[in-house]
């Protein structure tokens, strides 16, 4: 193997791996807090990247309409359950989130898009547009089935993923989009040259992971989420509302997804249906971590990224086969190390 190629592949792999790691974190947070397999994590990334692409060309991205649709459904679903329980406590807050927020952000986007703003503003707008999609999906789809089995939630997550793909095709079209790099060029670090994009991804990931760590270790809300993850009933008894934890977990997941979309937009061409493979590869990272540990999930996702890059170079048509086949030894190892299968109803 040529050392230059290897270095380049490794760089590619680590860049992708970091992005997989971010998504893996979002998947893990959602799973631990709500027991939902956040398969639409991939769609968040795709919508983020496509929004970046549209804003780059000065066209109003379809994300605005997506936000409106999801907000409408979320409001309907929430109002319905309020009406059934005759319990309107948090309704006004949800109303604001589902009506005022999309209106404000939609107006801002419609005003800013034709001006073709700088990359940093594009990125901010994208975050504002895409991050709330996940909590809205929680309100619309997952909150009403909070007590259902993991299996039911999983099938619902896949159904939501299909709906989002359909909406993606409708709103963004079938064409792939790629944005110009936020910062172009490479820097020389002696033995190889690293693209600025990688540096950016690295800095963003590290900052995000640190922020998450501080959030979970140092803030009351972070501790509440950890408590919910460890013991749902117990958390409820000390007045952590499961609904609030769910909303927060999905909010974090949405933000991470949107940010990953912003970072991935200049790296690869994204299509409306490209999210599923991304999410599945991130899931492999999460499986490495036995769906429990954050650092292990990051390590697993980095490995997946590197394997992915090398497989794409040496056997591009069998790339996904190789990456998913890597799941087999991981699963064998997991089934040898865990004695009991703890299924939940």
């Amino acid at each position: 193997m040529n050392a230059t190629i290897a270095a380049l592949l490794l760089q590619d792999g680590l860049t992708n791996g970091l992005l997989y790691a971010l998504i893996a974190l979002s998947i893990l947070i959602v799973f631990l807090v709500t027991r939902v397999f956040w398969i639409p994590a991939g769609e968040m990334v795709v919508f983020g990247a496509l929004s970046m692409g549209f804003l780059n060309t000065g066209v109003l991205p379809g994300t605005v309409w997506l936000l409106a649709i999801l907000a409408g459904v979320a409001l309907l679903s929430y109002s319905w359950s309020c009406w059934r329980l005759r319990e309107w406590g948090h309704w006004w807050g949800v109303l604001a989130f589902c009506v005022l927020y999309p209106l404000a952000v939609g107006w801002l986007t419609a005003w800013a898009a034709p001006l073709r703003p700088d990359p940093i503003w594009r990125a901010l707008l994208t975050l504002l547009l895409v991050a709330p999609l996940a909590p809205l999906a929680y309100l619309a789809v997952f909150r009403p089935i909070a007590g259902a089995t993991i299996l039911t939630k999983l099938i619902v997550a896949v159904a939501l993923h299909m709906v989002l793909i359909g909406l993606g095709l409708l709103l963004f079209g079938a064409e792939g989009l790629r944005s110009p790099a936020l910062i172009s060029g490479r820097i020389d670090i002696g033995f190889t040259r690293i693209s600025w994009q990688l540096v950016l991804v690295l800095i963003a990931s590290v900052v995000l992971m640190l922020a998450l760590w501080i959030f979970f270790e140092r803030t009351l809300w972070g501790k509440a989420l950890r408590a919910t993850a460890m013991n749902r009933l117990g958390a409820r008894l000390v007045a952590v509302r499961p609904e609030a934890s769910g909303l927060l977990a999905f909010g974090i997941a949405g933000f991470i997804g949107a940010l990953t979309g912003v970072l991935i937009a200049p790296i690869s061409t994204m299509y409306y249906d490209g999210g599923f493979l991304i999410a599945l590869k991130a899931f492999i990272g999460v499986v490495c971590a036995a769906m429990v540990s954050f650092p292990a999930a990051v390590a697993g996702a980095l490995l997946v990224g590197v394997l992915d890059a090398f497989a794409a170079f040496y056997a591009s048509s069998l790339r996904d086969v190789i990456v998913f086949a890597a799941l087999i030894p991981i699963l064998i190892w997991r089934s040898l190390t865990s004695r009991h299968s703890e299924d939940e109803e």
């Binding site: 089995t149 709906v163 793909i165 299968s341």
Partner: protein, 592 residues
């Protein structure tokens, strides 16, 4: 009874006539969608068994359909085999693949299986497109249709008969399976701890159901290859797998009929969306189709989860529930030890959780025919002790001996096999199964019939004996009247008693009762106490772990009192009641 049997026989004959006649009456434009519905229904039948009955699921069924299709395509076009010879090979290849994939993942929790099926669904699809000899993404063409000897009919007609035949066979086999010892076991897989405690090998049974689902998918693939005469990777990708699962969910995974209703409904809706949406909006229907189906699936699952069948069932006659025969030969019985012999010996039993010693050097003996109570205040280590005795937890140190054999650290299934039956503190019944079926679950390890015998209805003798045993035990505990009600409809007190009947149906040498009085009302407690007295009178050896002092005091022969994991007293109720340490434990010390 006779009239009902005649009517059901008549319905079958009628169905046969309709299915045989249909291809001559219907035009090809009707036969094509019907044939596809049949092909989908085979796959969905497997998914109903997997999802609705066993509580697993698969997002990779299309890959098994593909394995069936590719195997026959390669053998028939490449090697010149007859399709009927390639059918068993198609099934074996898919079955072995499913067996290996199943073993890899099912021992972990079921969500790993689901992720695994997704990953493999994608991998196998890519392999179809890239493996040498499979024709790349263009696939293999010229797969010959199957013709029936002596019948001149079009491919459409021939396949209608073939598909209808296989669907009916598969449906009947699946129905027979569910209405059997193995079927009850499959339906209890959602609660693995309960299933294991009645001797069900949970992992093995899950793998078997997974393999059955894969075989049905491969059968559909085999038919599909010869029907459309071309095999390419297209219809075997992850989206097709998701489609199959959605069809099953739309139909309803809690009943086998859902596997027929789902594909039919989806096919109708799909045609409607494809025709209507472009004409209404001028846009392509493709994206609308998945939006509509995704939304329907989400709404159905947010509702009862029973799919369309749950709605249809309101107008349909109630499904037949199994009834026990009035008499049948008794199931083989275990040899009971002579009264007064030491049955359970516990010595130095210790269990640590980190720094906490939940059970600390506990020792006692239980004699055959005795009712021994273990009591203690909250946190005394009663539940841990119970879990150590039943194989849920392994002891850190010490011995547990049952009938002379060491059972410390043995699996729950092994302990159950030796004749130790248990009840659960939080009732663990299958609420949707009838009282009789729940009780019959206890007799699982006293009967032998396997999956195949059950599917072919060769298990009827043994099944009658099992159901009769269940009925006998229900009558013994006074639940005979409730036999055909769903277990979930009973009040808590009767559910507890049903758990006892289920345990008795396993013909136990020792019955372990985990806080049976917890949460019961006064009358229910009285009824329970009467039952336990009656059982003791009949010579059943019992260990009763209980929190409620009053309930235990007038009931048991001897008592063991635990506090902070240690045994602080033992003896008759009167001796224990007079023991100052027990008084202190329950009432608090004077100087506290």
């Amino acid at each position: 009874m006779m009239a009902a049997r005649m009517r059901s026989r008549l319905a079958w004959v009628l169905l046969g006539v309709v299915l045989v006649a249909a291809p001559w009456v219907l035009s090809a434009s009707w036969l094509t969608p019907l044939n596809y519905i049949g092909l989908y229904a085979l796959v969905c039948l497997g998914l109903v068994l997997l999802t609705g009955m066993a509580g697993l699921t698969s997002f990779g069924q299309a890959a098994f359909v593909g394995i069936g299709a590719y195997t026959t395509a390669v053998l028939v076009t490449g090697q010149g085999w007859s399709p009927w010879l390639s059918l068993p090979v198609s099934l074996v290849v898919a079955g072995v693949t499913a067996y290996i994939l199943g073993w890899l993942t099912i021992r972990l929790s079921s969500h790993y299986l689901v992720l695994g099926t997704m990953a493999w669904g994608i991998s196998i699809y890519a392999l179809f497109g890239n493996m040498p000899g499979l024709g790349g993404y263009n696939g293999i063409g010229g797969v010959p249709p199957i013709s029936l000897p002596g019948v001149s009919a079009s491919t459409q007609q021939t396949f209608f008969w073939l598909i209808a035949l296989f669907v009916v066979l598969a449906f009947v086999a699946a129905r027979n399976l569910l209405d059997s010892r193995q079927g009850r076991a499959i339906r209890s897989l959602r609660d693995p701890a309960m299933a294991e405690s009645f001797g069900i090998h949970v992992t093995r049974l899950k793998v078997i159901v997974f393999v059955i689902a894969a075989l049905l998918a491969a059968l559909s693939g085999w038919l599909n290859a010869h029907y459309v005469s071309v095999v390419n990777p297209g219809p075997f990708g992850i989206n097709a797998s998701i489609d199959y699962l959605f069809m099953a969910v739309v139909g309803g995974t809690t009943s086998l009929a859902g596997a027929l209703v789902g594909p039919a409904l989806v096919e109708v809706l799909r045609t409607a969306v494809r025709d209507l949406v472009p004409s209404l909006t001028g846009m392509a229907g493709g994206s609308f189709e998945i939006i509509v189906f995704g939304t329907i699936v989400i709404l159905l699952l947010q509702g009862s989860g029973g799919g369309v069948m749950a709605v249809l069932r309101r107008w349909l006659p109630k499904p037949r529930v199994p009834r026990a025969p009035v008499s049948a030969e008794a199931l083989p019985r275990r040899e009971q030890p002579p009264r007064g012999q030491a049955l359970l010996r516990v010595a130095g039993l210790t269990r640590r959780f980190g720094g906490l010693v939940a059970v600390d050097d506990v020792g006692f003996e239980l004699m055959a025919g005795e009712l021994l109570g273990v009591i203690g205040p909250n946190g005394a280590g009663k539940s841990t002790l119970f879990n150590l005795l039943t194989g849920v937890l392994a002891p850190t140190a010490g011995r547990v001996e049952f009938a002379g054999r060491s059972i410390g650290g043995a699996s729950a299934r092994h302990i159950a096999g030796l004749g130790v039956a248990r009840t659960f503190q939080h009732v663990r019944l299958r609420p949707e199964m009838t009282v009789l079926e729940n009780a019959a679950l206890g007799a699982y390890q006293r009967s032998r019939a396997g999956i195949l015998r059950s599917m072919l209805r060769l298990d009827r003798d043994e099944e009658a004996r099992s159901l009769f045993e269940a009925r006998r035990q229900l009558e013994r505990v006074g639940l005979g009247e409730a036999a055909s009600l769903p277990a979930g409809s009973l009040p808590l007190g009767q559910q507890r008693i049903l758990e006892i009947a289920r345990a008795l149906a396993s013909d136990p040498v020792l019955l372990l009762l985990d806080e049976p009085a917890a949460g019961l009302r006064y009358q229910e407690k009285q009824a329970l106490a009467r039952l336990l007295r009656q059982l003791r009178g009949e010579g059943v050896s019992m260990l009763l772990v209980e929190h409620d002092m009053d309930f235990v005091m007038n009931l048991v022969d001897r008592l063991v009192v635990l506090q902070y994991g240690q045994k602080i007293a033992s003896g008759t109720a009167r001796e224990v009641q007079a023991d100052p340490r027990v008084i202190e434990a329950y009432l608090g010390g004077i100087d506290d």
